[in-house]
Symmetry: C2
Subunit: 417 residues, 2 copies
């Protein structure tokens, strides 16, 4: 008899994602390891039993004071892993919407000192308490939408002290929200105003001063860079990422978002953990990512937000054999806090099957963010899961605005604030 | 002193939409008639006072047993009017997603007996109790997302008895949900399987038998038609709509969704109340709509869901002087229940300003659905309103997944089921 302090009962289905190599590629992304009519037992924050509802009473005993939660015919999935966010920022960008609707691009707005630079000004000026409070609010809403692991990138300070401050806030945010957060250093999010026209000098300062401090303090798991014309060149990106790798950090690239920047090719050459965005990546470079085993972190709502005239290349990346992961890209530019909405974007916009999208949002996103034991529902692993009010995982991403009816992080229910 | 049984207090702003001609066109769509630091008083389900918070205590007295609700620094807007839905259906279409992600079009899937026709089979087979229950669930979630008026189209029975049954369910749905519903007869949603290759005969049967029964029973406010190659031609659409107009129904057209069908031009020629979808409408026909005063009902999430490669033409329609309205298009093809998500789609995808989008989702949608006294917050009108957790209407549609913190329909709070 197995003892449990919590049992989730009466799910129409559990998609455990518990079988197969990590990350999943190609047709394997459609294998969800489903358990029909499922129940899941949790003890001490870990999954202790997964199986058919009809067997749970015989095989699992609820401890005194333990409780059973009703999945009410919904579908249990692993807690979502959001593999790409920029939630640490101050202010908002409502003021630039009138420019955007008239067709000004992200790069044009940034070049005029708006966009990203207005967020940098607001973030530098903000107190740590305000940054913590607003980011925690966002993360709690993300958790209510089913996310249990979130990769958080720095990048709105763009100076030595400010970037370190942002990274140091991440463990505090994790404690405040109960979420598992993966810190990524994105000091090279843009060339700071102080270094205008001197991107090489800024890379120099990151390599000589900031990166070593990040590594020394254990402040980040990954180093990321915005490799795009007007931001950082392939050569500048490569220099930064090689330095990061030497210091033991994993590497990631914001690649080919607006135009073919060569960022995906660079990610493949460096064996990066992930290349992110990839809206302008050609077929040859999809092949390079696949052969190098670099995860493609796709952000379908960003493709939509930028103009709605671009599709996230989910279908193409899956068919090319690239391990695809998903993220919200939550930022003041694309303020999305719902992984279920991202799943709908991946299915409707990215033309991924519901199973591919779910794989991308769980086990593959966990791999892309370097969190080995997340993204599945398996005995011995943290009980991070969401119950969706749909009768089967075949409906993931079909309805646009599905909200979980229950989210557990380490076996504890997550509630909206 | 004004007496109230409910006061909504401490809003950072109220956008009342209470000034100007109806519908609003062009630059007038940016005039929201804002009240900063607002409070709103309600009595007997009607708005009795709107003004600055600092004056409410002096000018309004709460009745014994009345209550004050805290808008907590949010923004009060009129309850959303969803000007285009197909919520009366059975089943779902998850099974066709694998076809869609491989690129099969809506028309191809329909031609193979899937898509719309699979929903017709399910709807014909469903009991009225099931149809009521599932549609009411959808409408309640829509209400929780801020909608207080919803246009509901028939069209998934495609036979005389079944279409009349669907229309007769609408008043029952209104009673069950407390929402104000506008019934629209869409018997010409597609050529039914029994009439394959004989669209003219089907139009004939609608004109001779079903339309007169609809009119006689007062079952619908509007008659709508799917004017698109493979569905109904301009000539067939015109014949149906002229017959409907003679019977006193308003007329609407599903126009130019996939290709230039001539539907918008027809709507202009007939002086229709609205032309809906309009993804393939050329500039010349936008001008025709503007001159004829035909509302464009745009459905930005449908543009996204179809392939994500098309933009909803919000900017172009506003600039052409067409009165723009918005809807979810909630259906088994585009299962969207959230007007705030549609507002985000209108801003990010349709390039409308937040103010234009809000105007389109309230006062202009009320006009498009023929509900004269909805879509504004004004003394003497029903107290239908939503409080959004944003500091100003300038942020409408900016974040993708905003949920109202309070929704009132006729002064009564609406809760999720």
């Amino acid at each position: 008899m197995i003892h449990a302090d919590l049992i989730v009962r009466d799910a129409a289905e559990a998609a455990t994602l518990a079988a197969g190599p990590v990350p999943r590629v190609g047709p394997a992304m459609n294998d969800l390891a489903r358990v029909p009519d499922a129940a899941i037992a949790v003890d001490g924050g870990l999954v202790v039993w997964v199986g058919p509802e009809r067997r749970v009473s015989r095989e699992v005993r609820l401890r005194a004071g333990g409780r059973a939660l009703d999945a009410a015919g919904g579908t249990v999935v692993p807690g979502f892993v959001d593999a790409h966010t920029h939630v640490l920022f101050a202010g908002d960008r409502a003021a630039e919407i009138p420019l955007r609707v008239r067709g000004a691009s992200y790069r044009e707005i940034a070049r005029r000192g708006g966009g990203l630079y207005s967020t940098v000004r607001a973030t530098r000026a903000a107190g740590s308490r305000e940054l913590l409070r607003t980011a925690a609010d966002r993360l709690r809403r993300m958790a209510a939408n089913g996310a249990t692991v979130v990769e958080v990138k720095s990048g709105y300070a763009l100076d030595h002290v400010g970037e370190l401050r942002l990274l140091r806030l991440i463990p505090r945010l994790a404690r405040a929200t109960g979420l598992r957060l993966v810190p990524t250093f994105l000091g090279a999010h843009a060339v700071p105003p102080e270094f205008e026209g001197r991107a090489d000098d800024y890379i120099d300062s990151l390599v000589r001063r900031t990166l070593p401090a990040v590594a020394r303090g254990g402040l980040a798991r990954f180093c990321d860079v915005f490799c795009e014309p007007g931001f950082f060149s392939v050569a500048q990106s490569e220099r930064l990422l090689r330095a990061a790798a030497r210091l033991g950090l994993g590497v990631k690239v914001h690649a080919d978002e607006f135009v073919l920047s060569g960022g995906a090719r660079l990610a493949a050459r460096l064996g990066a953990r992930s290349a992110d965005h990839l809206l302008a990546t050609p077929a040859a470079d999809r092949g390079r990512l696949a052969r190098a085993g670099v995860s493609a972190v796709l952000l379908p709502m960003t493709a939509f937000a930028s103009t709605a005239a671009r599709r996230s290349p989910g279908r193409e990346m899956v068919d090319a054999g690239v391990p695809v992961a998903l993220g919200t890209d939550c930022s003041p530019n694309t303020w999305v806090e719902s992984m279920p909405l991202v799943l709908a974007g991946a299915v409707h916009g990215g033309r991924m099957t519901p199973a591919e999208a779910l794989t991308a949002a769980t086990v593959n996103a966990a791999h892309a963010s370097g969190v080995g034991d997340a993204g599945t529902i398996e005995v011995g692993r943290p009980a991070d899961l969401a119950v969706l009010p749909i009768r089967s995982a075949d409906l993931v991403g079909y309805r646009f605005d599905v909200r979980p009816t229950l989210v557990l992080r380490q076996g504890k229910p997550v509630f909206t604030p």
